[in-house]
């Protein structure tokens, strides 16, 4: 081959920009669903938990917890002091798997508990006694506090073996936190439901490790659930520009941030050229460009035609709900549901099988198929 062709080829390879990754997002030509606003007047509805099909707990990031019965909001009293700064505030809320018998709820919030200035993510449990919280316990508090405004993580999930999982983002300190299991931040955590450390946690025998750590090398995981069929833990996280990811979490594994990533700094400068490395897990899927993934949910009901077993992820950045079709362990189709609806903060499947989304500045919307 003539050197000039090699030169042109190499020039092309080395200067071509990151392409949108496949499958490219589609906008449906026919829309077979509509929405109904079921909770309004909440500026940033961060977390939601269904007590029943017509009763929901909803958090407002600035520091309020509402119990909503058929659209009527009641403010719950007895919350601890919330550190509302940057992306931090009152974040996720979830019901104990045995909530019907014990009325226990879990919630995550930024807390400034401790001696140092600033705050960090905390997981709480409490008993929901009608309109007030009783027996509020802090069951995990990430340290140290920092005045940084970013990456609190905070999504909560449960498996069927008596564990609670939650995430803490890298707290704006990517060089020190995510790769160091002796430090909080950039981790998925696993605890027993009473807050104690499971004896089979991966780093239980590491002297200085944070014993609650279940996986590490994360940036800012804000979508998390147990897959309804495989029971595996699915997590989506905000990457840097062009590096948002879905990961299926394996115990004790390293998900690479910031040593490997498909993204670049917001400013356009490079973080690393490396996207793969021995001993670090590859994402199940990554988004280029970034969508700003928030909550995630699987649709398991027969309510929506053709949506069964699809994954739904909210996009904060492009203001739609994304539908992802999975086939043979691969994302084969992506589609915009409710394009331009607003910043989608969360998505959940209710006990009635309907999908519910929370949208900033709007509230909670129920997705209803058209007749």
């Amino acid at each position: 081959m003539k050197p000039i062709f090699v030169f042109i080829y190499l020039l092309f390879v080395h200067t071509s920009c990151a392409q949108d990754n496949t499958p490219v997002i589609e906008t449906p030509t026919q829309v077979n669903y509509t929405t109904e606003l079921i909770v309004d007047g909440i500026e940033i509805p961060w977390g939601m938990a269904f007590i029943s099909s017509n009763e929901i707990l909803v958090t407002e990031k600035s520091g309020a917890l509402y119990r909503v019965y058929e659209g009527q909001k009641t403010k719950i009293t007895g919350l601890p002091k919330i550190y509302n700064r940057g992306q931090g505030g009152l974040l996720d809320v979830a019901l104990h798997p045995e909530f019907k018998n014990n009325n226990i709820i879990y919630f995550t919030a930024a807390s400034n508990m401790g001696d140092d200035l600033g705050g960090n993510t905390a997981l709480y449990s409490a008993i929901l006694a009608n309109k007030t919280l009783e027996n509020v316990k802090i069951i995990y508090k990430a340290t140290p506090n920092t005045k940084k405004g970013q990456h609190f993580g905070s999504r909560i999930a449960f498996d069927h073996e008596g564990h609670v999982y939650f995430s803490v983002g890298d707290r704006g300190n990517r060089d020190q936190n995510p790769q160091n299991i002796d430090r909080d931040g950039g981790k998925i955590y696993r605890l027993n439901l009473d807050g104690s450390i499971p004896l089979d946690n991966p780093f239980i025998k590491s002297t200085n490790a944070k014993k609650a750590v279940y996986s590490y090398g994360h940036r800012n995981p804000q979508g998390m659930l147990i897959h309804p069929k495989t029971n595996k833990l699915w997590v989506n996280e905000h990457g840097p520009k062009g590096g948002d990811e879905i990961n299926i979490i394996k115990k004790g594994m390293n998900y690479g941030w910031p040593l490997i990533t498909y993204g670049i700094n917001y400013s356009g400068t490079s973080i690393t050229d490396v996207t793969k490395k021995e001993g670090m897990e590859q994402p199940f899927y990554y988004w280029v460009p970034s969508i700003g993934p928030s909550g995630m949910a699987f649709s398991t009901s027969n309510i929506y035609e053709g949506w069964k077993d699809n994954l739904f992820v909210g996009s904060l950045k492009f203001e739609y709900l994304e539908r992802l079709v999975i086939n043979n362990n691969k994302i084969v189709k992506r589609e915009k549901v409710l394009d331009k609806i607003g910043r989608v903060r969360n998505v959940k499947q209710g006990p009635d099988g309907f999908l519910y989304i929370s949208v900033e500045g709007k509230g909670i919307l129920k997705i209803i198929p058209k007749e």
Binding site: Y83, G86, E319
Partner: protein, 138 residues
């Protein structure tokens, strides 16, 4: 004694002025850059250009320069509802970031003097402290 007292008070005045000296505008701008990168850059972007129709620009923004106090209140208390910036309408939500008055002054000084923006006056925390939520009209 008179002389002693005058010298004493003169030096007291001099030293308090020296010890409790307010930061300069350029120091404030420098601190404002850190706040900007931490709390603002994700939406308003690195050159203050924003995203047309979604996140209003700060660079060369008529709204910002015509509404200094309301902009301060927006950072302090959060801002929502329709605004018009450089002949384009924006109807989003900017939530309060929990910054203290000092930090708000710093970030205002930064955005008012970057990317070709130029604001002669110097915003100090006392000015931020005085701005009530009511000026947002809600």
């Amino acid at each position: 004694m008179k002389i002693f007292l005058s010298i004493y008070f003169l030096s007291l005045w001099f030293f308090t002025g020296f010890l409790f000296q307010k930061k300069t505008k350029s120091e404030s701008i420098k601190l404002g850059l850190e706040i900007y990168q931490d709390f603002c850059v994700q939406c308003h972007l690195t050159s203050g250009e924003g995203v047309s129709g979604v996140f209003p620009p700060l660079k060369n923004s008529d709204y910002l320069f015509n509404n200094i106090d309301i902009s301060i209140a927006g950072i302090k208390y959060g801002l929502k509802g329709q605004i018009n910036v450089n002949d384009e309408n924006y109807n989003g939500v900017m939530s309060s970031q929990g910054l203290d008055n000092e930090e708000i002054a710093d970030v205002m000084n930064y955005i008012l003097n970057q990317w070709g923006n130029n604001y002669e006056k110097f915003i100090v925390s006392e000015q931020v402290a005085k701005i009530p939520k009511t000026i947002l009209g809600k």
